[in-house]
């Protein structure tokens, strides 16, 4: 008895980390964060430094991932590109989670007309093919990573809103909420102190999976040339130039793609791991 962790958080962590696949995904994400934060210490090269004498070199000891058509070190550009991807993932999903949580809380807690209006808005937004909507807006704005994050966030909150609303509906009638109300707690206090903390766990799963989706969307936009603009490296725009040289410089296309694949896969595995660890039927 004394050895088993007692707090819910510690129990959750133990279940999560004992799932080997999820633990590997988590380790990869942590490593990516460390690498992208320390990027300038890891590589001796500047991501934007041109070098006309070392153009399109294959991978070697000096250039692990080779060099691109302007002589820039691909490894350096990939690890600096990680910053873009990780930032886009977090900010876009952050925006989506905040909007979705607020709308879900309000709809679930107040019910009635507000609830049906907000849920119809969710229904309408869910009808749009998301990538088309994002494309339509992004292409009309000045290219900027901030717009990309905001637009991905604004088109991705509906799932969270539905989840939070459903949780609130089931929590609202529980005894502890009733007790808080009897004790004279305000709506604000009941929502934020009593309901919100209990409604957040399903949001965690959908947010983790959302990060993976946002990273894929950003890379696709950058690949199409309307995302992150060169010379700022992003995995998507390195692939755009890789496409033109694929016949004689495979390394330009291979490494950024593997980076996207590994990152997105890790987030998905972590999301699944969290879902399993939270699932009461698995305890």
């Amino acid at each position: 008895m004394s050895n088993s962790p007692s707090t819910p958080l510690a129990q959750f962590w133990e279940r999560f980390i004992s799932n080997r696949i999820a633990a590997v995904g988590f380790a990869v994400i942590v490593a990516l964060f460390v690498i992208s934060l320390c990027a300038s210490f890891i590589t001796p090269y500047d991501p934007d430094a041109l070098d006309a004498w070392h153009v399109l070199l294959p991978p070697s000891g000096a250039h692990w991932f080779g060099t691109d058509e302007l002589g820039r070190d691909v490894f350096t550009r990939v690890i600096f590109g990680a910053r873009v991807s990780l930032k886009v993932g977090f900010v876009a999903v952050g925006i989506a989670v905040v909007i979705g949580t607020v709308i879900g809380l309000v709809a679930g807690f107040y019910g009635g007309l507000i609830d049906s209006l907000l849920m119809r808005l969710v229904d309408i937004m869910l009808c749009f093919p998301t990538f088309f909507l994002i494309l339509a807006v992004i292409a009309m704005l000045e290219p900027s990573i901030w717009y990309i994050m905001v637009i991905i966030g604004l088109t991705g909150w509906m799932g969270v809103a539905r989840l939070v609303r459903a949780e609130v509906l089931s929590l609202k009638s529980r005894d502890f909420v009733l007790a808080a109300r009897v004790l004279g707690a305000s709506d604000k206090r009941i929502i934020f102190r009593h309901i919100l903390p209990n409604a957040l766990s399903p949001v965690l799963v959908s947010a983790t999976l959302g990060v993976a989706g946002a990273i894929l969307t950003e890379s696709a936009l950058s690949f199409l040339g309307i995302g992150v603009q060169p010379p700022t490296p992003s995995w998507g725009n390195i692939l755009t130039s890789g496409k033109d040289y694929i016949e004689f410089a495979w390394w330009l296309s291979l490494f950024p793609g593997v980076a996207i694949l590994v990152t997105v896969l890790s987030y998905n595995l972590v999301g699944e791991g969290i879902r399993d660890a939270l699932d009461p039927r698995r305890q």
């Binding site: 292409a139 696709a220 016949e247």
Partner: protein, 326 residues
Amino acid sequence: MTKYLAKRIAMLFPLLIGITLITFLVIHLAPGEPVDMATAMSPKVTAASRQRMREFYGLDKPLHVQYVRWLGHLAHFDFGRSFAPDHRPVTDKIVERIPVTLSLNVIALILEFCLAMPIGIIAAVNRDTPLDRAISVFVFLGFAVPTFWLALLCMYLFGVKLSWLPISGLHTLGSDKLPALLRLWDLAKHLILPISIATFGSLAGLSRYMRSTMLEVLSQDYITSARAKGVKERVVIYKHALKNALLPVITLLGFSLPGLIGGSVIFETIFSIPGMGQLFYQGVMARDYPLVMGILVMGAGLTLVGNLLADICYAFADPRIRHGRG
């Protein structure tokens, strides 16, 4: 049941209005105008001719007037004329692209269901075995791989390096002179890469869903009692469990309907397939407002109808809903 149906159908109209409103706002609140695109490159364009162009397209009117006018046309299924130099009706432009995207996506969807459902069932029946884990990794790889990158690699490998398959378009130049059978073979070769990549990418959703529904059904009491009375495991799984696990799949099928016409921007751009995705991308890049709005409204409207149809089918298929509510 009739009451439920009537309520759902009545709900369609406000939702459709909402779809048109959001489409209109999204397109018109963004900075810049299509007139800028047409005139920016040419210094000879005077302010007066710019103004004439804006009047011609109706862009000089206040937003709400433009919206109501557009909505009035929509009510007659008139999406207006394209801003592109050919000025063709948007409806014609969309309709001629539909067969390409539709046939491509129907094949991919059929493949997806044929592969993902057995995969999901096998994973559920062999839960937590190495086979289950291998399947998880496989479908997650498909989910995580950026399709445009996979397409790029496959085009290079099978198209350039091995030259087994053509890498762009739908027909080889001059293939229209070939006999029908060879022409079909030519088309099939062009479709192999896009369809297999699309299918690989979409396996995860349905197979994971199938796996979890199947697991849930397998833990029900009636399955235990079927096993207890000595029913063979095969019969338990394929007769008792599968029947109930298949129900929610109807909903998923409804969700995939709109995607059939939507098409994928990335795929169609990479493989130069003249479908809806490519049309939309070109429209967005040229700021062809009527075309972009037309595709958005059509795509969202079809999703709405698709979801409704799925819900109705579900209600008919599930006796709990058929006899409960309504």
